[in-house]
């Protein structure tokens, strides 16, 4: 996996693999940090890898591992003195995705969410010591991707469903039978609340998340569907914060497709 981690004073490029975690300066010129994965934590038949990357609370970078632990790295404003600040051990299955709050969190709604292969989602408050605010239980399906916006958790699952939860309480707000296959990617446009989902069924959908002005209930509506013929979509990302354009990648595809209004 690869992700840009945007912090106030610097942008780092973080890469994860079966060997460990690498962090580079944003132009890719220097590797500022290397973290080898602890093979001992795993049984011999288990795969070892790091997966799930997010920058949190303007200071930390969180990376998940195949054992279920989440490594929290403390990032200084410049230089290579990156340290492991904490290891979060609330998940018992391989981490699939990590997301940080992209908008304005209401009180108690948390800064970071972590998801795993069993489908469990944890909501955290970031700090010197991360505090677990809540756990959203699994319902029998792997949670493959997760996003956090204005206190709303958007989760994509291996059975093609998208679910929205209130981060502060863990209550289910919406359930969408979105795709006919495993959802690989979710992205969110923070200025508008548009949600992008891409799955193995070759479809990419654009949704809009909002709060009902009267009831304050979370709502979601379908905006657009795109079929990338004969392609299992593996990656999907908005290209702008309004969500007016997005890019798509797929298995066996050497091109990146870009769609725009």
């Amino acid at each position: 996996q690869a992700a840009w981690c945007v912090l106030p004073s610097r942008v780092l490029l973080v890469l994860t693999s079966q060997k460990g975690i690498q962090m580079y300066e944003s132009d890719g010129s220097i590797m500022v940090y290397w973290h080898a994965l602890d093979v001992g934590e795993h049984s011999p038949a288990q795969a070892v890898f790091a997966r799930g990357i997010a920058a949190a609370a303007n200071r930390f970078i969180c990376v998940g591992t195949s054992s279920g632990s989440v490594l929290v790295f403390d990032i200084p404003p410049k230089g290579t003195n990156i340290t492991v600040s904490e290891v979060l051990e609330q998940h018992h299955d391989a981490i699939t995705d990590i997301a940080a709050e992209l908008g304005q969190a209401p009180d108690g709604a948390g800064d970071v969410v972590t998801a795993d292969d069993a489908g469990t989602i944890c909501v955290w408050e970031a700090g010197e010591e991360f505090a677990l605010l809540g756990k959203i239980p699994a319902f029998g399906c792997s949670c493959s991707s997760v996003k956090l916006w204005n206190g709303i958790v958007a989760a994509g699952y291996g059975n093609g469903q998208i679910r929205l939860y209130e981060a502060a309480t863990g209550v289910l707000c919406a359930e969408v039978n979105a795709h006919a296959r495993w959802i690989y990617a979710l992205d969110l446009a923070p200025h508008t609340g548009k949600l992008l989902s891409g799955a193995e069924d070759s479809f990419v959908h654009v949704w809009k998340i909002s709060r009902n002005l009267d009831t304050d209930d979370v709502e979601i509506q379908h905006c657009h569907a795109e079929c990338v013929t004969d392609t299992q979509v593996c990656g999907a990302r908005f290209c702008d914060p309004e969500g007016d354009s997005f890019a798509v990648t797929g298995y066996d595809l050497s091109e990146i497709f870009r769609y725009g209004r």
């Binding site: 292969d117 291996g158 039978n177 006919a180 009831t215 004969d230 066996d252």
Partner: protein, 316 residues
Amino acid sequence: RVDEWTDVDRKRVMNDIITTMFNKKFMEELFKPQELYSKKALRTVYDRLAHASIMRLNQASMDKLYDLMTMAFKYQVLLCPRPKDILLVTFNHLDTIKDFIRDAPGILNQVDETFRQLIETYSCLSAGEFQLIRQTLLVFFQDMHIRVSIFLKDKVQNSNGRFVLPISGPVPWGTEVPGLIRMFNRNGEEVKRTEFSTGGNYVTPQREGSFDLYGDRVLKLGTNMYSISRPVETHMSGSSKTSAPHAKESIVPNPLAKEELNFLARLLGGLEVKKPGGSETGFRLNLFTTDEEEEHAALTRPEEFSYKVINIEATQ
């Protein structure tokens, strides 16, 4: 050449190959947790298996057979509706193999033993773990777009070598048909329901396939493609259209690799080598329509598709 074979010959080849494939020692090795074989190692194992009996194939036919196997397997892994279905595909293969050797109880036992091991090892894996296995396999087959005539004919593959991904039919077991949106208030009560449409045409599946030793697998992937007589053809030309450079296999020989392959070869060759004796010259399988065509195919095969096979001395 194939029509010179008798039924006795066919049965013999089938039995020999299956016996070799399900050899106890070989299976023990396969079930050990390990990395995926390299492309060279896999091709070598395949060559050994194909020659486990009195049947012989020369380079061109062997290449063609391997291409066919590779693309068929890629198709089956790619189209699995849910990750756990790769196990059902495997069971379909085994069910068919058991039918081929139903008259030979000794070999049947070996296959059943392997079947039980598969159930024991894999039945309890989670969907996420199966998806990781599936993704690892798909990476192995990435960028292979050899056109197979039976797939082209059945409209399962496009003329550019890509497989057709249907957007209709039953959804995987455990998935709902896309379209419904349900919204709830903070008390958990459903307050709104809407629908959206996509252009896809999905339906609910009837039942789940069986993961037992015997049972209806429901899934058709992995069943015999040749249960009715079909042409066997693979096309190379025009399939390498990708302009992005794909990683070339390292040519630097890995000192451990030859050891690993020798070991595999010893395991596979551990049985009595069935050398055609006396006046028997064995039977040569030609996958082309004439000998001349086969020769021509060998000479004109594009470089990037040639599998560099390491010759191994496995006599001991």
